[in-house]
């Protein structure tokens, strides 16, 4: 997609309904204030990249969205459902939100195909044949259909992560969360995973991605968020973010990571 087309798409996305709303979200680990007054609205079709130094709370932020972490103050609303201790709400939200982890977290005792079919069968109560069809469709989408009968231990890191993406997609989520998906990969395998993510973005998936891959951010993101010490320091479209960062901290961070 050309940059002009991307710009048009982001403008369109901005006008869409809000899928995720975080209002005044705060979180503490004991005495440590890990998320400070987070306010964020994510519209349908938007691609948001979150970056920042380690310990800034970026992973914690997206893990709060599917309740892998609990926030103590503020509201999180996903697709109109508010995240509370209500178990039914949490289950509903998890069905609509897909997550890809830094350590892949594939189930080693199941084949690739079984990994992808597990949730559709047991959560969406799909017949096995239908689940397998959907799984093969997404495995083709991530370009490894031939590995379907293999076990995760037999695949390379890049292949495993692509399976993890397919596994999340098999639940047909409305939003995809990525928690540093390429940080555990060898350099030559990063590209294959990023290509899959770019493809997803082009198909209009709403994405929140925590990553250090600035090239990816530049091509794909509608907005880039810079977080430091638990708060959102800067939020801007890539063009503005990279050429004209406003905060000193952002400038310092960019100078450190763009050197490579």
């Amino acid at each position: 997609m050309s940059t002009a087309a991307t710009a048009v798409a982001s403008q369109a996305a901005a006008g869409n309904e809000v899928m995720i709303e975080l209002a005044g979200v705060n979180k503490w680990y004991g005495e440590f204030h890990v998320l400070r007054e987070i306010n964020l609205s994510v519209h349908r079709g938007e691609r948001i990249v979150i970056c920042g130094p380690s310990g800034s709370g970026k992973s914690t932020l997206i893990r709060c969205i599917n309740r892998l972490e609990e926030h103590q103050k503020g509201r999180i609303v996903v697709e109109g459902i508010e995240l509370t201790n209500d178990v039914k709400n949490v289950d509903q939200i998890r069905r609509e939100v897909g997550m890809v982890f830094q350590q892949f977290n594939l189930f080693p005792h199941l084949t690739v195909l079984e990994n992808c079919c597990l949730a559709p069968i047991w959560v969406r109560k799909m017949p096995r044949a239908e689940a397998e069809k959907i799984a093969m469709h997404y495995l083709e989408r991530v370009r490894i259909p031939e590995q379907a009968r293999k076990f995760p231990g037999q695949l390379s890191g890049g292949q495993q992560q692509r399976v993890a993406i397919a596994r999340a997609l098999c639940m047909s989520p409305k939003v995809m969360l990525f928690d540093e998906p390429t940080s555990a990969l060898d350099p030559e395998m990063i590209k294959e995973v990023l290509d899959v993510m770019v493809g997803l973005a082009q198909d209009g998936m709403t994405m929140l991605c925590v990553t250090h891959e600035m090239g990816f951010a530049r091509t794909v993101a509608d907005r880039i968020i810079f977080m430091d010490r638990g708060e959102i320091v800067e939020m801007a479209p890539p063009k503005e973010f990279f050429s004209n960062p406003r905060s000193e901290r952002t400038k310092q961070f960019l100078s450190q990571i763009l050197e490579h």
């Binding site: 503490w28 907005r223 959102i232 939020m235 479209p237």
Partner: protein, 365 residues
């Protein structure tokens, strides 16, 4: 859509988490309905047990006096320890010289206590142990320095348990290392012999090895030669524990990265130099917690010598209870013995766990 000057948000105080007792109870004991039920039942059980135990063991207990003081109505008869305590702990050791085994035990506990500090691990500690062991031997045997000679046939009780464990462990350790190296050897005959020995010993109960030691070893010696009973038992225990130590050491040898072996070979070291200078120091350090656990097992296993009639700590307890006068005080006596074993083993196992944590932390760096 683009936001520029987001205000710097100051650090806020965590919301009142109420880390008071009430909140703790709520999260830890009563967070779900079945947990609440379980907690109530458990507390009731504890109260019941503690009430009975305190009533029997402390309040109604008889602390000293003859056996007649303990009747059906009184509580625990701790007086039995006053009467029989020294017999249980020191066995048949000459009564007047029993300060010697006592010093022996204190010396042992002291040496072990000092050895727990990793910072002190050095040649000096090894020397301290060697000197300590000599001192302990002198104390027990006597015959020099004006101490009366006490034959090892009169040794008994807790010092004997310690002696059995320490001797069997010390001498079984090098045998175990040799077996572990043998099991990983390239040479098929040596590997076969090691595997056969280890699997044979690990497949049979300790009591059969002890019986073999007690009954068969005298037959192995040429007629006329005497095989002392204590020595027989120590050799039996030693041969038994060597197989288990071998498996623990083998784990360490396997865990050592192959690169270490290769680097040593590349430097041109012979097999024995490589093993002595590179492989064993690292492999043994990896399995220190496992070795401590094996020693704890050995310490408990020494109690089996009761069955072949060697006068260890547990034997003392049993013999004390054979006295018809004190026959009914079995719970008191066994609890005492159990408490002593528990103290030794519990502290050793806690030490091994903390050692494991320390070693993991330093390995990660």
């Amino acid at each position: 859509m683009s936001t520029a000057d987001l205000p710097v948000v100051p650090v806020q105080q965590a919301p009142t988490v109420r880390i008071g007792a009430l909140q703790w109870l709520r999260t830890n004991l009563f967070n779900t309905w079945y947990n609440a039920v379980l907690s109530v039942l458990a507390l009731a059980l504890i109260c019941l047990v503690v009430e009975r135990a305190v009533g029997w063991g402390l309040i109604g207990a008889v602390w000293s006096g003859p056996a007649s003081a303990c009747t059906e109505d009184t509580g625990a008869c701790w007086a039995v320890l006053g009467e029989k305590g020294r017999f249980i702990v020191f066995g048949r050791y000459t009564y007047d010289e029993q300060w010697r085994p006592l010093v022996f035990l204190l010396l042992f506990v002291g040496l072990v206590g000092v050895s727990t500090f990793r910072r002190l691990w050095s040649k000096w500690l090894g020397l301290a142990w060697a000197l300590g062991l000599i001192a302990m031997g002198v104390l027990m045997w006597g015959g020099v320095l004006g101490l009366r000679f006490v034959s090892h046939e009169d040794w008994g009780g807790l010092p004997l348990t310690v002696i059995l464990a320490v001797t069997a462990g010390t001498f079984g350790f090098p045998i175990g290392i040799v077996l572990a190296l043998g099991r990983r050897s390239r040479l098929p005959a040596i590997r076969a012999v090691s595997v056969a020995y280890i699997e044979l010993i690990r497949g049979v109960p300790l009591i059969t090895v002890l019986f073999m030691a007690a009954v068969m070893f005298p037959l192995f010696l040429p007629p006329g030669m005497n095989f002392d009973k204590l020595l027989r038992v120590v050799v039996g225990l030693m041969l038994f524990e060597a197989a288990y130590i071998a498996e623990v050491v083998r784990g360490g040898l396997q865990a050592l990265p192959k690169g270490q072996y290769e680097a040593a070979d590349a430097l041109g070291l012979t097999y024995w130099r490589k093993t002595r200078l590179i492989v064993l120091p690292q492999a043994l350090r990896l399995v220190i917690p496992g070795l401590v656990n094996t020693f704890i097992g050995l310490f408990k296993d020494t109690s089996l010598v009761v069955i072949i009639g060697l006068f260890d700590f547990l034997f003392g307890a049993k013999t004390a209870l054979n006295d018809p006068v004190w026959r009914s005080a079995y719970i008191e006596v066994y609890l005492f013995v159990a408490a002593v074993y528990f103290c030794f083993c519990f502290f050793m196992s806690k030490y091994s766990q903390s050692l494991e944590r320390d070693l993991q932390k330093s390995a990660r760096r």
